[in-house]
């Protein structure tokens, strides 16, 4: 137990000083990794914990990003204040979209999520309601401001993003060790048995979508502020596939797996930039190979432990 704490402590220390040793390009790569890590963590709730095949997660990401972009450029509301709003809009959108389809069987749900992702993207391109800026997107999004400090350089974004990663990791870890987290796993393992044990499976399926979407929406806000320009191109099906791949390859349902997965899937192609075109090829092949040889992913989750405390039994840390 203490050993894991030492490890985490060391990692946090490393993370804190890392940007000082790297040039801005690599810091920006780490920023990308951080964003994808949060996206993967959010999708992990839906795919990893609840076991629902969601291949349209980019749509929720987009809703958050565009919410921030529109409200900031139209009403000059500071972006960081909009984070909860973005979470809200993405969450509500997920609720609206998932409600009629939540009872669908696995593969059908998968296809519908692809359809939803595409419809959102097409709607953005077609400038629906006249506010999305069409295929050019929206530009001129303000930088985040934290207590008077404008966050502009990759270095500064690094701390913002990775703090958010840290917060997400902590909160989602707590969520795993709770009634909610267990309910998601029960419905993934055997929906009929879960329902027969008294768990409202429809509610939890929907909840996983909403929470996962809300988180993706919030990170979409940060993405918009970082890029200052967003367009529908950043939210294609292949983005959804990328996030999905991180979850699966990293290890469904595992928080360390999500982080490692993000590092590998986003970081490795950067390391092998020379082989730019072959990257995707290798990526595709890697997915096939992983499924054949190690279905559970690189860092599969460890079982939850419940250990005795002074007052009897309670939850433990895995």
């Amino acid at each position: 137990m203490a050993r894991t704490h030492w490890l985490y402590g060391a990692l946090v220390l490393l993370a804190a000083v890392l940007p000082s040793f790297l040039n801005p390009y690599w810091v920006d790569v780490l920023n990308s990794i951080g964003i994808y890590a949060i996206l993967a963590l959010s999708l992990n709730l839906i795919v990893g914990h609840a076991g629902l095949f969601n291949l349209g997660h980019a749509a929720f990401y987009a809703v958050g990003a565009y919410t921030a972009a529109i409200l900031n450029t139209q009403f000059q509301i500071p972006v960081l204040w909009l984070i909860p709003v973005c979470g809200l809009t993405s969450g509500l959108f997920a609720l609206l979209v998932a409600r009629p389809i939540i009872h669908l069987r696995g593969d059908y749900l998968c296809i519908v999520t692809i359809g939803v992702g595409e419809i959102v993207r097409i709607a953005l391109i077609n400038d629906v309601f006249g506010i999305t800026g069409g295929s050019n997107g929206i530009f001129g999004i303000a930088r985040p401001v934290v207590m008077g400090w404008v966050i502009r350089t990759p270095h500064q974004f690094y701390y913002l993003i990775w703090t958010l990663v840290g917060v997400t990791v902590v909160l989602f870890h707590l969520l795993e060790y709770s009634r909610f987290g267990r309910a998601l796993n029960y419905l993934r393992e055997d929906e009929t048995a879960a329902e027969g044990s008294g768990i409202d499976t429809a509610h939890y399926k929907l909840a996983s979508f909403v929470v996962g979407a809300a988180w993706a929406g919030m990170v979409g806000n940060v993405y918009a502020a970082k890029m200052t320009i967003i367009s529908p191109e950043s939210f294609t099906f292949w983005e959804s596939v990328l996030m999905f791949a991180i979850v699966i390859l990293g290890g469904c349902g595992s928080i360390p797996g999500m982080l490692l997965g993000a590092f590998l899937v986003v970081g490795l192609p950067e390391v092998f930039r020379g082989f730019a075109n072959a990257r995707m090829l290798v990526f595709g092949a890697a997915m096939v190979v992983m499924m054949i040889f190690r279905t559970q992913g690189i860092l599969p989750p460890r079982p939850r432990r419940y250990r005795p405390t002074e007052n009897g039994w309670g939850e433990g840390e895995g």
Binding site: R179, F180, R182, N185, A193
Partner: protein
């Protein structure tokens, strides 16, 4: 008044009549057995009671009110818990967590409590684990809490399913072939367990092919064949009923 009352229940699948005009009651505090040859419609009856299927005709009253049309998890909340004919445990989760699944509906913590681990949430978790462990002890699995469900022996898996069902705090426990795959010793332990459950005030309705168990533990038996009820009565009455003997029991059975 009876705890569970099934009247003129019917269910068709395509052209096949799985359950036909079935009527019986389960008095509170009793142990009732539902027997019959394979394909008689017994599990279908259970699925109708627990809301997995919707009846085409008829009424199901629990504690006097109709439960037709309610989603399964609400029926569980009302007080009916079940085990499955083919074991449906959460195989990759621990024994303890399987029981905790049953206790889920008795807990209140929602999303925010789960996310933030409030004091109330932690108290509820501790209590849940404590109750789950007590339930495991009650069925005889107390040493196995940390074991992954799929590693349990077949007989123990059946006991775990019962523990999970008990954790929901039911008034009526529905057991679908609880002795399936059990040997003599395990079956005897099961008989004792069923009696202990009954002594706690929980009513039991069970499907079983093991006649020795049925005759030992049931106060009343309902016999089905081809979706119809062909007999109902005490074990003595059923043993002697010619229709039952012809359809199902045969004449050389010893019990």
């Amino acid at each position: 008044m009876s705890l569970l009352s099934v009247s003129r229940l019917s269910k068709n699948f395509g052209g096949l009549s799985a359950v036909s005009n079935l009527t019986f009651v389960v008095p509170g505090g009793s142990v009732v057995g539902l027997i019959g040859p394979n394909g008689a419609g017994k599990t279908t009856v259970f699925n109708l009671i627990t809301g997995i299927y919707r009846p085409d005709q008829g009424e199901i009253l629990f504690n006097g009110s109709s439960i037709i049309g309610l989603p399964t998890h609400r029926i569980v909340a009302r007080g009916i818990a079940r085990t499955f004919q083919t074991i449906r445990l959460f195989q990759n989760l621990s024994t303890l967590e399987n029981v905790l699944a049953g206790y889920h509906c008795q807990m209140k913590t929602g999303l925010f409590g789960s996310l933030l681990h409030t004091g109330r949430q932690r108290r509820e978790e501790r209590q849940a684990v404590s109750i789950a462990l007590k339930t495991l002890k009650f069925v005889g699995l107390e040493g196995q809490a940390e074991q992954t469900a799929r590693n349990l022996s077949y007989g123990n898996q059946r006991l775990l399913e019962i523990a999970r069902a008990l954790a929901t705090g039911p008034q009526l426990l529905i057991l679908d072939e609880p002795a399936g795959g059990m040997n003599e010793q395990e079956t005897t332990r099961l008989v004792e367990l069923i009696r202990s459950i009954r002594d706690r005030g929980i009513t039991i309705l069970l499907i079983e092919h093991d006649m020795s168990l049925v005759m030992r533990v049931c106060e009343k038996i309902v016999v089905m064949e081809y979706g119809l009820k062909i007999a109902e009565g005490s074990p003595e009455e059923i043993k002697g009923d010619p229709r039952v003997v012809e359809a199902y029991l045969g004449t050389d059975h010893e019990w």
